[in-house]
């Protein structure tokens, strides 16, 4: 099969699934495509992207749990498994292999509150191997006294690893919190060559 034929087939297949989605569940419109990464060094990851970019990199217990979460959170659009996320998967593979620690992926945070978005935008600018404090991220996001709110935004980061919320620590150098669990935060920082206890 040529590349064009494969693309045409994928398009036709998607139309069939989306037609069935609309007819049977009332869900319509631009779908959320997802893929699973089952055996990364940090466990199972669920990935999901819409037309505008990557929307989820989540720590998951498994596929069912991740898909149910997507269906519940995005109650109005169809969700479907797709190999269209291969570029995201490859970028994460490169990251875990240590070949490339930063990401050149389009991320869509449009569903989040404005302040959360600003915090995550600033976080996305922290290079691998470096860390910032919650207070500093809050300041860069325009609200120096909102470090707790910044922590909240980071805790609810829908795009883990790619938006590197693990690079934000407490002012005393302790790890603070992490949605995926502190051992994973520690692993990621070590993997990137950051020294969390030396700031």
């Amino acid at each position: 099969m040529t590349v064009e034929q494969a693309a045409a087939e994928r398009q036709a297949v998607e139309r069939i699934v989306l037609g069935a989605f609309e007819a049977m569940t009332g869900r319509r419109g631009g779908p959320l495509r997802y893929a699973m990464m089952d055996d990364t060094p940090v466990g199972v990851l669920g990935l999901a992207a819409g037309q505008l970019g990557l929307r989820h990199v989540n720590y998951a217990r498994g596929e069912d749990e991740f898909v149910e979460r997507l269906l519940a959170e995005h109650g109005d659009v169809p969700v479907l498994r797709s190999d269209a996320l291969d570029d995201v998967r490859r970028a994460l593979d490169r990251y875990f292999a240590g070949r490339r620690l930063d990401f050149d992926l389009k991320v869509d945070l449009s569903g989040l509150p404005a302040f959360h978005r600003r915090v995550l935008d600033e976080t996305a600018r922290i290079p691998a191997g470096q860390v910032l404090t919650y207070t500093e991220v809050a300041r860069r996001a325009g609200s120096p006294r909102a470090s707790r709110a910044a922590g909240n935004a980071l805790h609810n980061n829908p795009v883990a690893i790619v938006v590197p919320c693990h690079r934000v620590l407490r002012a005393d150098g302790s790890l603070g919190g992490y949605g995926g669990g502190l051992p994973i935060k520690e692993w990621l920082l070590e993997h990137e060559g950051a020294r969390p206890r030396s700031i």
Binding site: E9, A12, V13, E14, R15, I16, V17, G19, A20, F21, A23, M24, T25, G26, R27, Y34, E63, D64, V67, E68, L70, L71, P78, V79, L80, R81, S82
Partner: protein, 171 residues
Amino acid sequence: MPERTDRAQHIALLLAKHGDELARHIRRIVRDNDAAQDILQDTMIRAHGGLARVAAGSNTRAWLYRIATNTSLNHLRARRRERAALLRHAAERETDGPEGSSDHQGLDARRAELWARVAGLPERQRLALTLRLADELDYEEIARRLGGTPAAARANVYQATKKLRLTLGEP
């Protein structure tokens, strides 16, 4: 209606996880995108109805493939019968006289009855059915030729097919 919502949620989950590969599979068997959507929906309804009987952890995926395969093959068989009936009828009109057959009388009577039914369909249904079965057009093309939407073309073919099935004595 909680039951309905549960059903929609469950089907959404099945479609999300398996819709892609099942649609690909079905489409390869029937080579028809419109029919593939109908068959995928049929598969999901059957899967939803039967899932309670399938033990958790057993191979849901293989089971879904089996339903999709059977539904696709049934579709092809029904399609072949309908098409054969329609083409028989068309050939009869061309030559204006049936070829020799031992089952001559019965076949003639069946053809006559079928033709009466087809001819008795509302015009749009008859035209849509002919374009679909004899010319093998998709619903978009039928809509382009007859006017109206693809969904309306689909509905016309569906209604006509239902009547035709009754004529042929099929469920």
